[in-house]
């Protein structure tokens, strides 16, 4: 099966003898082109046009992250799967207010239900989350009555705030404390983990969208505007609690991730190389974990993301109404 390739070392990536070769200080490493689904670059990488051409031909998107692990941008190869019909349908669902609200609410509902599943899971394990759960359920009721995207975003933001505050109850590890969500830059280790995990997830979903006919530029919950991609942000909402948050909980609670895996500068915090590689391993393991799906047998979480795209297809073509993925554990 094709796997994503993470490049942390610095060096030169080139096309050589019809495959990929990564030249670093430690020597040359040949990477079988047919086993790579996408590339995520964290190191200082030199790359030339010939290599990009080769990656395009093999339909491999490349995502770049900066020194601190923030997403910079992607090399999104020319669309291999084109469908004017799907794009029209996607735009139609964006332009029609009601249709757009339906999808936006769908993504939020998926996110909130998965958040509740997480909380429920930890409540069963004896954490005192009863109040958080009922407060989120209460706030969630407002979703059915809102009628603008801005209001919806606001409700979602409030729910997420309550949820993030409960991280202190779920993660009871010395030195890790959540006060408020801060991005750019994240101010403490938990924020750094959330930011890093989310950007990994965004690019993963983007790579999955690339393999469908959907256009990642048209999103519903996240405004389609000057930003290049937004559909991947929408779909990511549904999967954040399932993938990113659970990876964070398990890494911290099992002590695999410790304070020594973070570097901090004045007022902010980010993962160091060792920390990133621990996170990426756990993240990939999570994506490859299979669960039993009601209709499809055993499917991995990565596969579920693709299925989410196919569900949107069906929704656009009026075959089946979109219902977001909600975990059933």
């Amino acid at each position: 099966m094709k796997k994503p390739l993470y490049i942390f070392s610095s060096g030169r990536l080139e096309r050589r003898e019809n495959t990929l070769s990564l030249e670093t200080q430690e020597g040359r490493k040949v990477i079988p082109i047919n086993s790579v689904s996408e590339i995520k670059v964290f190191g200082e990488l030199d790359i030339n046009k010939r290599a990009l051409e080769f990656l395009t031909r093999n339909q491999i998107p490349v995502h770049f992250f900066n020194h601190y692990g923030y997403y910079i941008g992607s090399f999104y190869p020319r669309e291999a799967l084109n469908s004017g019909f799907i794009i029209l349908k996607q735009a139609e669902h964006y332009l029609d207010r009601e249709k757009r609200m339906y999808l936006a609410k769908g993504f939020v509902a998926g996110a909130v239900n998965n958040i509740l599943k997480n909380l429920e899971y930890y409540r069963r394990k004896g954490k005192d989350l009863k109040e958080t759960i009922s407060s989120i359920e209460e706030k969630f009721k407002a979703v059915s009555s809102v009628d603008s995207i801005a209001e919806l975003m606001q409700v979602e933001g409030e729910i997420r705030k309550t949820y993030y505050e409960s991280f202190n109850l779920i993660i009871q590890v010395e030195g890790f404390y959540f006060d408020k969500r801060t991005k750019r830059p994240p101010e403490n280790p938990i924020n750094a983990l959330i930011s890093f995990g989310n950007s990994l997830l965004y690019t993963t979903v983007l790579s999955e969208i690339y393999r469908t006919h959907l256009d990642p530029r048209i999103g519903y919950l996240h405004e389609t505007n000057q930003r290049s991609f937004s559909l991947n942000l929408d779909i990511s909402e549904v999967f954040k609690p399932v993938i990113v948050d659970r990876v964070i909980f398990s890494l911290l609670n099992k002590g695999q991730m410790q304070l020594k895996h973070f570097d901090s500068d004045v007022g902010f915090s980010y993962l160091n190389d060792k920390g990133r590689s621990i996170f990426v391993k756990e993240f990939e393991d999570k994506l490859n974990t299979t669960i039993k799906h009601r209709n499809l047998g055993n499917v991995s979480y990565r596969r579920l993301m693709r299925i989410e795209c196919y569900k949107l297809y069906k929704h656009f073509m009026d075959e089946e109404i979109y219902k977001p993925f909600v975990g059933e554990w």
Partner: protein
Amino acid sequence: MFVILVYDVKEERVAKALKICRKYLTWVQNSVFEGEITEAKLRMLKDELKGIMDETYDSVIIYKFRTKQYYERETLGIEKPSHEDFIV
């Protein structure tokens, strides 16, 4: 599917075989490759190899595993690359 591929080809064709296999599988050591591959890609690989092989002299052996569940890899001496190295 997970495969281990070994080949034994005449010297003048070794480089060609190496190049072809490198596109699909991870090189482990001289004339040995391993990796996850799909049925279709394996077929492409075999076709490419057949194109350069002299089938009366060379041989390629492919060990196939449906899952990696019963596979264990043990290395003595130098640690050789593995297809699991997706972080570099």
